[in-house]
């Protein structure tokens, strides 16, 4: 379990815009071990999806990785030439996108799309690839796969299409799956099925999973560890029980307080005041300080670095043993 599959160190992603360079990801670091599911949560624009896309090397110009390193099972992949990176995509890293309705090419049978992907990465004959495609469809829970393989995407429901997308993502036995909001576009009843499917596949194949979502419920159900992102940085990262039950970062506390529970019906949900800063106007010091109830002088000047607190790691000055006065 301790074998590290993905290791991201101090990742920086920047987008060139007319008004200067915008830093979407600023110093993000995390690891995912074999068979582990890392949930990545945060508001829209926190940089969750960009982190996933930069791992698989699909950040489009004018964006690009401007610093840090990404290692996949010990090999550095963030600086690979495009053709070599292409061979990593689909083969060693599988990706699942948000909207299954638009992820598949409507003009090709799903079987052709799976066979095409298998034959791009594995040295199999047409028939062998087709057999494998049928097995994959069965594994992701498509009934009568030998018949459905010749169906077109529009003949499948949203949940079934997401299963096909998952089959495509795992067809070359990748070491890592990046699932970018895989259940957001689906019905709640289907969401649970897809989540348990991803979890089961990760466990059966020993695949590391990076699960990007804004749904804390999904994270709590699936993940082993969770990373809370805010304004392009990791605010807190740790085992999922710890972070959910005992969040350390004020933002994580706010996020957990905003989860509705059936038990506490009378209690009003806690809101985090304000909204996340735009990339062009990230405040100095801790980017959360204008919305933070605990902010003090140092938070407005000094950018907090991750501090280890037991199994968790939190980027907040409240947990710094150095007194605030001496730093100022």
């Amino acid at each position: 379990m301790t074998e590290t599959v993905l290791s991201v160190r101090n990742l920086q992603v920047e987008f060139a815009s007319r008004r200067g360079t915008l830093r979407a990801i600023d110093g993000v670091s995390f690891d995912i071990a074999k068979g582990e599911v890392l949930g990545v949560v945060g508001e829209s624009g926190a940089g969750k999806s960009v982190t996933g896309l930069s791992v698989i090397g699909l950040i489009d110009p004018p964006g690009g990785i401007s610093g840090g390193e990404i290692h996949l099972a010990g090999t550095r992949i963030d600086n690979l030439p495009p053709e070599e990176m292409r061979r990593v995509r689909g083969k060693r890293i599988g990706m699942i996108f948000q909207d299954p309705l638009t992820s598949l090419n409507p003009l090709y049978k799903i079987g052709d799309q799976i066979v095409e992907t298998i034959r791009t990465h594995l040295n199999l004959s047409e028939q062998a690839a087709r057999r494998r495609a049928i097995d994959l469809l069965a594994e992701v829970g498509i009934p009568a796969p030998e018949k459905r393989i010749d169906g077109y995407p529009h003949e499948f429901s949203g949940g079934m299409r997401q299963r096909v997308v998952i089959a495509l993502a795992i067809c070359a036995e990748p070491e890592l799956i990046i699932a970018d909001e895989p259940t957001t576009a689906l019905d709640v009843s289907v969401q649970a099925q897809i989540i348990s499917l991803i979890k089961r596949l990760g466990r059966d194949h020993g695949t590391a999973v990076m699960l990007v979502t804004h749904d804390m419920g999904v994270i709590a159900e699936t993940s082993d560890r969770v990373a809370v992102m805010y304004a392009g940085r990791v605010a807190e990262i740790g085992p999922v029980q710890d972070v959910v039950k005992n969040p350390l970062h004020p933002y994580a506390k706010g996020l957990m307080g905003a989860i509705p529970t059936l038990a506490g019906e009378d209690k009003r949900l806690v809101q985090i005041p304000g909204s996340m800063p735009r990339l062009s106007a990230i405040p100095r010091g801790c980017s959360f300080n204008p919305r933070c109830a605990f902010a003090f002088d140092r938070c407005r000047v000094d950018r907090p670095e991750p501090l280890v607190q037991g199994a968790q790691s939190v980027a907040c000055h409240l947990y710094d043993s150095v007194p605030a006065e001496s730093a100022a």
Binding site: G90, N105, H154
Partner: protein
């Protein structure tokens, strides 16, 4: 599928009847045809006899019925100027126009798709910008001017290509073709370019815009995430999705190519239907004008029908909605 085709075919017949009404009414608004046929000193009795023999005394509705019944059998009467059946005249000229239109369309499709794909994939390259500039010229310059410029350059100045006519033709059955002789092929080059240039720029711009659009879609992003080769993504996934609207436009444009051939045929004195039509207009030869109208509409309607059916073949989504809806 069959029901869909049948429904479209019935609609097509409706359109043709409407066109028939317009073609027929041309005869009634363009003066008394008997006056066109006879000389000044023909007596009133003789005129009445001619009128009677042509059936011009019958009620309008009877005349229209007769006209449509004849038209359905490709009988369009006798040309006033040539004193020959209009159908024979048109059939004689049709191969020239069709060969020209087909060559122009092939030129436009092949050139337009290649240039469009290139300028979408290499958006910032010098050549892509050059294509854009050329396409602007193609869209804004009138056809006849391009034809005259080509004649000036390649016929008058360089003397490489003939400035008018079809060259030598070979007769295969009733069809005459210029594709089998060297002079025929040489004669085809400039008219085809002239006629096809507008379509070429249209298709190129359409392919470019569609391709850029398709390259932004989720399934292309997902195809990249699956690690497919650039080649497979561009030509397997993106191009096929791009081609659906292109087929429609190119197909529908084939009708306008035939219609626009009037100008090109006039510039190059191409012995096709368009030239025949222009001569007919000059001589108020209504049977030819009406027949030409009917022929061009028939071609348009047929093409529309074929494009609709082709659509369902290319796009599987339509196939099932079509069969489900009927």
């Amino acid at each position: 599928m069959l029901a869909f085709t049948l429904r479209r075919a019935i609609q097509a017949v409706g359109v043709m009847i409407a066109v028939g009404i317009i073609a027929f009414s041309m005869f009634r608004f363009a003066g008394d045809p008997v006056n066109q046929m006879v000389s000044i000193d023909t007596s009133g009795a003789e005129r009445a006899a001619i009128r009677q023999s042509l059936g011009l005394d019958d009620p309008v509705i009877v005349q229209f019925g007769r006209y449509v019944a004849n038209a359905a059998q490709f009988k369009f009467g006798i040309s006033y100027q040539f004193r020959l059946p209009v159908t024979n005249l048109l059939m004689e000229r049709m191969p020239a126009t069709l060969e020209l239109a087909i060559c122009a369309t092939i030129f436009a499709m092949v050139g337009g798709i290649l240039m469009g794909v290139y300028s979408a994939l290499r958006r910032d390259s010098l050549l892509a910008h050059a294509f854009q500039a050329v396409s602007l010229i193609g869209i804004s310059l009138p056809t006849f001017l391009i034809g005259i410029l080509l004649i000036y350059l390649f016929s008058v100045t360089l003397g490489w290509l003939p400035s008018f006519g079809r060259g030598e033709v070979v007769r295969i059955g009733w069809w005459t073709t210029g594709l089998l002789t060297l002079s025929g092929l040489k004669a085809l080059i400039m008219p085809s370019i002239t006629l096809g240039l507008f379509q070429l720029t249209l298709i190129m711009r359409l392919v470019r815009a569609e391709m850029l659009e398709v390259m932004r879609t989720d399934y292309i992003r997902f195809a990249r995430a699956r690690g497919l080769t650039t080649r497979a993504i561009h030509f397997g996934h993106a191009l096929r999705n791009t081609l659906i609207p292109v087929i429609t436009v190119a197909g529908l444009q084939f009708g306008s190519v035939i219609a626009f051939a009037i100008i090109t045929e006039t510039v190059f004195q191409w012995p096709g239907m368009g030239l025949l039509f222009v001569q007919a207009v000059q001589n108020v030869d209504i049977p030819i004008m009406a027949a030409y109208l009917m022929m061009v509409s028939l071609i348009f309607v047929t093409i529309n029908l074929v494009v609709d059916i082709l659509y369902t073949i290319v796009d599987p989504r339509l196939r099932s909605t079509v069969s489900r809806a009927h």
